[in-house]
Structure formats: C-alpha cells, structure tokens
C-alpha cells in the first residue's frame, strides 16, 4: 500500500507543478481588447430583436443614419445632414464615399432596402417596426438624397433614425441564420465580423477602409459574463480589460486598485413608484390602518401621493442603497436631457410635511398598503423597495413588501393586479416624450399612449399637452411644451420619481471611455489613455 500511495502522490505532485504556469497578467497593448458584457445577445441580426445588447454589438458592424453621442445628442452618421422640409416631409443628405465591407459603395437604395427588411424579420420577439411605421413613403431623389414622408407631423423621426442599423440592399432577403453564421455581416461600420460563439463570445476585426476615425484596437473580443461576481473577477484577474454593469458593492474595491478605473454616466432610466389611481374604490392591496378592508382609494388623492413622495429620503437611498451610483429624481429624466424642466428639483425629505398632508387628506393615522417590486430587473431593486417601505411606514402608511422575479412581476402588473408598485423606465429616445407617453398618458392602445401606465393615471389635460408637443416639429418649442407637461404631471404627482440609474463601467487605467447614457459599450469609442 505504501508503494501505491507514494506512486499516486508523486503523480499528483507532478500534475500540480505542470499546472503552475502563471498566466500572463500584465496588460500588453497587443491590439486586442477584451470586453465583458453583462447580458447575452440573442442574435447578430441587427433587425431581429430590439434588445440593448444586440443593438450595442450591431453598432460595431452596421451603422445608423443618425448617430448619437454619449449624452444622446444627435450627430451625423450615414446621413450628413437632415431637415424637415415641411411638417410631414423630411430630406436626408447621405454621406458620400462610404463603402460596405465587401467594397460596394453605399447609396440611398440601401436605406430603402433596410426600411423594407427591418419591420419584417420572421419570428422577431421585439420588432423594429415601431421605428419604421411612421414613414409612409421613402424615395431616393438621387443616390445620396432621401425624402421621407410621414402621415402626421412626427418630430421624433430623427430619433427613430438612431434606433436601427442600415444593411446593404443585397441583404434585403437575408435570413437571421445568415447573420449569425457571419455570411451576411456586411456593414459600413468601424469593425468587421470575425467570429461568433453563441452564449460565449463575439470577435471583431478593425475595418481598415472605414470612413470615420480609425478605432484604436485592431481586434475586439466581447465575452458574455452574466454573473456579476464573475465579471468583476475577470477584470481583477486581467482576463478582460473592460467590464460593463459593475455591481455597486464592488465599485469601491475596484477604485482602490491602482491599475483600474471606474467611469459612470447618468442613464435615461428612471426608477419610480406607480400608484393605482384607476380604481375609484377597493384597490386590491389597500386596507385601513387596523387591517379591515377600506372602500375609499387614498391613492386617488394627489395629497396622499405627494405625502408618499415627501416621506422618502432619496438622498439616503442614493447614498446607502445605491452606493452613490444614482441621481435623486424630481421628474422623468435628469435635467441634462431634452424636454426636462429646470423647475423640478427632487422632492425634499419631509416626513412631518408628509404626515400633515395625510391628515389633510383625511388619513391622520395613515393606512395599510402592499408595495410590489421586481427583484432581478433593476439595480438593487429589492433593496430600494425595502427602503421605500420603511420610510413610508414611519409616516403612518404601514407598507408590506412583496418582491418577485420580473417575468411574473410585469405580467401581473400589466393585468393591473397591484395597487402600488416600483418599476423603471428607460427612455430610448433620450427625451421626456417617451416616459410621458408611456407612464402617465391615459391608457389608449390606438394612440399608443399609456403602454406602461400600470396605475392607469388619467388626466385629459395632460394628454392634450403631450399630444400637442408630439406634433411640434420645432425643437425649441417642443422642448418647452414637454417641460410644461412634465411640470403638470409632477404637480399632480402622477408618479413618484425616485432616482435615475447611473451606468458604471470599469476598465484598466490605460483605457479611456466616455461613459454613455444609452448604456451601450462601444469598442470603437475606447481609446488608450495617457
């Protein structure tokens, strides 16, 4: 037995020594940048699934007519300039000298083919039709000029043009599998497709014939690491050089590491509370203070809603729960974005004022309510909900909390099963028209209003203001109208805004990236830092 044991032990020792070949831990500028993404992509087809990770990767190979900078201002993309000729007609002048990855020149016909393909991809779980639908007619008046007509004035047309990628006309009938295999990955973008391993990684190589500024890295490798702890570990062990979506609890640890740096940007996502104002009586989760069922619905009274807003200490939530990776909110978007009002600072923490308002509204002792929240959708969503429940209980609104996975939460919420819920909304267009229409517009599928209005808040005056703003083509006038609509919504406390999420990236110190409010991680915008 001794012989057997020593033989085995010797073999194990040999194995361990062989394994102890240290991995190169130093970041050498070897022209490949490895980036870790936090969500899986579902396809490389830019028109298959309107999902942030898909769109982010697509932007490396395919481009938009109009691009956006890191705070979502419009800037020229494949279109050099654009203007509204009249309320329903737009003219786009396209960039000359742009070539597809296969060498053919880019012309207006490619855009027309894109408009045909984008809304019609078979089996699409989230289609791009919504951006293409408003354009009822599109013509090329010459190879580099496009004229688009809309049915009604549509001031958001340029915004819609930032939302989907242009493909060459030869790919108008391409299938999703062709994109996933790489056959159809022919775009105009700064990177060319190299490899895609589903669930694992995507590799791009620099397009040396790109019309724009040359990206710094000749190869990009995107790895999909959905587990947050593993993603941070990958950065700490130098397996990757950039990560997105840093969990708030790890930010301090990364900041204290001399070789790493953290970059954040206020996103367009707002975390807010929605209240059941649709039911006149008998809201499902509202009870009297002693637990008996209550006929009246206190949430219909604006004073009660304002009391809820006053009772919450947003600064404490930002500081302690979100570890400073959030910005306290007083309206639908941070005031650097289009359509916000300069007169809506976050509501100050005022528990006494809240109690006074509740007494005024006829609830001096408060009442009982249940708050529903998702627990795996937004950053620290569960913890935020716990904090809110505690703040409200302190002013007399005894709040029970129920959290659930997002797939159940949204289904039940949309069926109006809740009285009081916490949710988030990301404005894709980067302006306040999106949250105004979706969250506080009267629910009206025909008009496309109130698609996420789970409290069924309804104010015809507000609806009229929103609709007028949406037909105003002039940007300055529209911004003022949207600001006024935001002010009206907040005066009635249609929702209780909590904070805007800050998107956080972490990377090695010798990489610079302008953190984006639309949460895209773009390899061509990363540059070596001094």
């Amino acid at each position: 037995m001794r012989n057997f044991t020593t033989r085995v032990l010797r073999r194990i020792a040999a194995g361990v020594i062989v394994l102890a070949v240290p991995l190169s831990a130093a970041f050498a500028q070897n022209n490949e940048l490895v980036i870790a993404l936090s969500t899986q992509i579902t396809s490389l087809d830019p028109h298959f699934h309107n999902l942030t990770p898909n769109n982010g990767l697509a932007r490396h190979v395919f481009e938009n007519l109009i691009a956006t900078d890191e705070v979502q201002n419009l800037k020229p993309g494949l279109a050099e300039s654009w203007k509204a000729i009249d309320d329903t007609t737009w003219e786009f002048k396209l960039r000359k000298g742009v070539k597809w990855h296969d060498g053919t020149p880019f012309t207006a016909d490619d855009v027309i083919a894109t408009f045909k393909r984008a809304p019609n991809v078979p089996n699409s779980p989230a289609s791009f039709a919504v951006y293409v639908k408003p354009v009822i007619d599109i013509k090329a008046s010459d190879p580099h000029t496009l004229v688009m007509k809309t049915a009604a004035p549509h001031p958001l047309l340029p915004r819609d043009m930032t939302a989907f990628q242009i493909i060459p006309k030869t790919l108008v009938d391409a299938k999703t599998e062709d994109f996933n295999s790489g056959k159809a990955m022919i775009g105009t973008g700064p990177y060319k497709f190299v490899e895609y391993k589903p669930g694992d990684r995507v590799v791009f190589a620099r397009n040396e014939a790109y019309w724009g500024p040359k990206p710094a890295w000749s190869r990009l490798q995107f790895r999909m690491i959905t587990n947050s702890a593993a993603r941070v570990a990958a950065l700490l062990s130098s397996d990757v050089q950039v990560i997105e979506n840093v969990p708030t609890a790890d930010i301090d640890r990364i900041k204290s590491n001399a070789q790493l740096t953290v970059k954040g940007a206020v996103s367009t996502r707002i975390i807010y509370l929605h209240m059941d104002t649709g039911r006149e009586k008998n809201s499902p989760f509202v009870r009297a203070k002693d637990g008996k069922p209550m006929e009246a619905n206190p949430l219909r009274d604006a004073r009660v809603r304002r009391a809820i807003s006053k009772a919450i200490n947003r600064d404490a939530i930002v500081d302690r729960v979100m570890e400073k990776q959030a910005l306290a909110a007083g309206q639908f978007l941070a005031d650097s974005f289009f359509g916000t009002s300069k007169k809506l600072p976050p509501e100050k923490y005022d528990p006494d004022g809240a109690k006074k308002l509740l007494a005024e509204a006829g609830y001096p002792d408060g009442f009982q309510i249940t708050l529903h929240a998702p627990n795996n959708r937004y950053v620290n969503d569960e913890k935020i909900a716990q904090a809110v429940a505690q703040f409200l209980t302190r002013v007399g609104i005894d709040t029970k909390l129920e959290t659930m996975p997002s797939n159940i939460f949204f289904s039940r919420g949309s069926k109006l099963e809740f009285s009081f819920l916490l949710a988030g909304w990301g404005s894709e267009s980067g302006d306040t028209s999106s949250p105004l229409r979706a969250l506080v517009g009267t629910f009206d599928p025909a008009q496309g209003l109130g698609s996420a209005n789970r409290g069924r808040y309804s104010n015809p005056g507000l609806d009229a203001m929103i609709t007028t703003a949406m037909t105003q083509i002039d940007d300055t006038k529209r911004a003022l109208l949207l600001a006024a609509a935001s002010e009206k919504a907040m005066a009635e406390q249609a929702i209780v805004p909590l904070h805007y999420e800050v998107s956080v990236w972490a990377m090695r110190k010798n990489i610079a990236y302008a953190a984006r409010s639309d949460q895209y991680t773009l390899g061509h915008d990363m540059k070596p830092a001094r």
Binding site: M1, F4, T5, V8, L19, A20, V21, P22, L23, A25, A36, T42, S43, F48, H49, N50, P122, N123, S124, P125, A126, S127, A129, V130, T176, K197, P198, G199, D200, R223, M224, I225, T226, N227, A229, A230, R231, A233, A234, L236, S237, S238, D239, P405, S406, N407, I408, F410, S411, S414, W425, G426, E428, S434, A438, P445, A446, G448, S451, A452
Partner: protein, 325 residues
C-alpha cells in the same frame, strides 16, 4: 435482454408524455412571454402581432396539442428569443456541457475511488481521517461559493488559471470540443473541479463504506490464502464487488451533472445548456424550457438503462427483467 430493452423503451414514451404535460402546464402558469420580450416602447398592435406569431393567443390545451403534433414530427418548437428550433439551440450548447460533465466525473472517479479505497483499507490512519473530513466539507459547501472562491484564489490572486469562459474549440468528429488541448483544458479545470467536488465526496464515502463492508468477507481472506498478490485481490476482486452501488451512484450523478450544471456554468460563464435553461426560464422562452426538460428526461432514462445493463455484466447473478417463477 431484447424484450427487456423494448419494454424499457415503451416505458420511456409514457414517462415523456407525462413529463411534457407537467412541464407545459407548469410553465404556462408563469408570467407572460410577450411582456418579457417585446420592447416596452412598442404599442398594442405590435404586442398582439407578436402574441399571434408565437401562438400564444390560443387556449392552453390547443397549444399543447399543437406541440404534441409537432413533437411527433421531431419539431419541439421555435425558441421565442432566438427564433430558431429550440432543439437546435440546446444541441448547439450540449458539447460544452458534456465535456465539462465528463471532465468533472473523470476527476471525481479518478481521485475518489483510490482515496476511498485507502480510507476503507486503513480506516484509523491520520490520512484516512483527513480524507473523510475533507469529504464532509466537500458536500456541505455550496457550489456557488466554492466556485467564486476558486476563481478568487487561482485566477485573481495566483493568476494560474483563467477566471471565466471556455477555451478555443477544435472540431473533433463534427463536435466542437475544447478540452482536447491544453489551452481549453486550462479553462475547463476550475469549473470541472467546482462541479466535481460534491461527486468526489460522495464517491469517497461510498467507496470507503463498501470497502469496509467487503474487506471482512470470507472471499477476500480466501483469495489472500490462495496466494494472490495484494494488488490483484484489491484491484480485481474487491473492486468488482463494490462496483454495483458505485455504478448506480455514478450514473445518477452523471445525469444530474449534465442536467443541472447551471450554477457552475453561470459563475464561470461556461456556454453550456444549464446557463441556457436558467436564462430561458427568466425570459419565459417556453419552447426551450420544455425541450430541455424532455431531453433531460430522455437522458436520465438512457443512463438508467445503461446502468441496469451494466449490473448484469458486473454481477452474473442479476438477470434483467426476470420474474420469479
């Protein structure tokens, strides 16, 4: 033997049918896939269009019958999220899970059986006691935590092994495998170790118990008395007799390792089936979940069948399918 196998196949179909009903009903009750998939900015018309396109506007029993009809033709449905055949999406990732499972079982068996043998033959030595203590720790610690610890130690602190992902793959007989060369093996080592820990502990303890029981029996004394070498007594006679319970456990564990490597795959970002399934559950990608569970059932049944056949090979006293006269 043939009749036995045919009978088992018939039972398989029955089990599959019952499973499909249970899974279908179960996943039907959870949430609304359209809510999860459709862009929140989309309007009602878009949602209705998506609902109809996925067949979700029909009542549950109609959807189930359609599913059965397609399943009989080999089509287990189209994934909502990927837009392709659910079966294809799963099979694409199967080699990754299989090679991880294979490596994990290899580690567990190759290390577990010798250690268990030693602990069984020399139960009072310090080394044996250490082995048993470590085995308790091995199946008590949660996989999630151990995985993160392994990453922190070997990847972040020591830098010996990569922290995530699968190594580059090589085409072997049509399958894309990564563990056939050193770079891929490096990537697979930590997750395989993580996965193997529980099985290792189980095998050590089981082997030791079996050895303790068998070593006292007459046939061992008789074999030594006959003059056989120690190696032959242990390696041939003892090992063969402790194999039956071991084979059962290894078979069951192999099945569970393949089907439920979810936690390890999530932590190590290993692109296998487990990760696919947990993501599909969250995204309410019903066809993938149903297809996956059907595949898992088939796999367990096949493994059990192989184990039963191995019994009759290992133990000549066992006759498959025989009933007492």
């Amino acid at each position: 033997m043939l009749v036995y196998i045919l009978r088992r196949l018939a039972q398989t179909l029955l089990v599959l049918l019952v499973t499909s009903v249970l899974v279908f009903v179960g996943i039907f009750m959870v949430g609304d896939p359209v809510e999860m998939l459709v862009n929140p900015q989309a309007d009602q018309i878009e949602r209705e269009r998506t609902r109809v396109a996925f067949g979700l506007d029909k009542p549950m029993w109609v959807q189930y019958l359609l599913f059965l009809k397609n399943a009989a033709a080999g089509d287990l449905g189209n994934s909502f999220v990927y837009g392709r055949q659910a079966l294809d999406v799963i099979l694409e990732r199967m080699p990754a899970t299989l090679e991880l499972a294979f490596l994990a079982m290899l580690i567990a068996i190759v290390i577990g059986i010798p250690l268990g043998l030693y602990a069984g033959l020399k139960p009072d030595s310090k080394v044996s006691k250490a082995i048993m203590a470590v085995s308790i720790v091995g199946f008590s610690l949660p996989t999630f935590w151990v995985g993160l610890l392994l990453i922190m130690l070997f990847a972040v602190q020591l830098g010996w092994l990569p922290s995530t992902g699968r190594g580059p793959t090589v085409d072997v007989l049509g399958l894309h495998l990564s563990i056939v060369h050193w770079d891929g093996l490096k990537h697979a080592l930590l997750p395989a170790l993580n996965l193997a820990l529980f099985k290792l502990s189980l095998i050590i303890r089981l082997t030791r118990a079996q050895v303790r029981e068998n070593v006292l029996l007459d046939y061992i004394k008789f074999a030594r008395a006959k003059g056989l070498t120690r190696a032959r007594v242990l390696g041939v006679h003892l090992l063969k007799n402790i194999m039956i319970p071991l084979v059962t456990v290894i078979g069951l564990e192999l099945g569970s390792v393949i089907a439920f490597a979810i936690v390890t795959e999530s932590i190590f970002a290993w692109p296998g089936m487990g990760k696919l399934v947990i993501d599909s559950i969250f995204q309410l990608d019903r066809p993938v979940v149903v297809a996956y569970l059907m595949i898992t059932v088939v796999m367990f049944i096949v493994i059990n069948l192989v184990v039963d056949i191995l019994y009759s090979v290992l133990d000549p006293r066992v006759r498959l399918g025989s009933t007492p006269a």
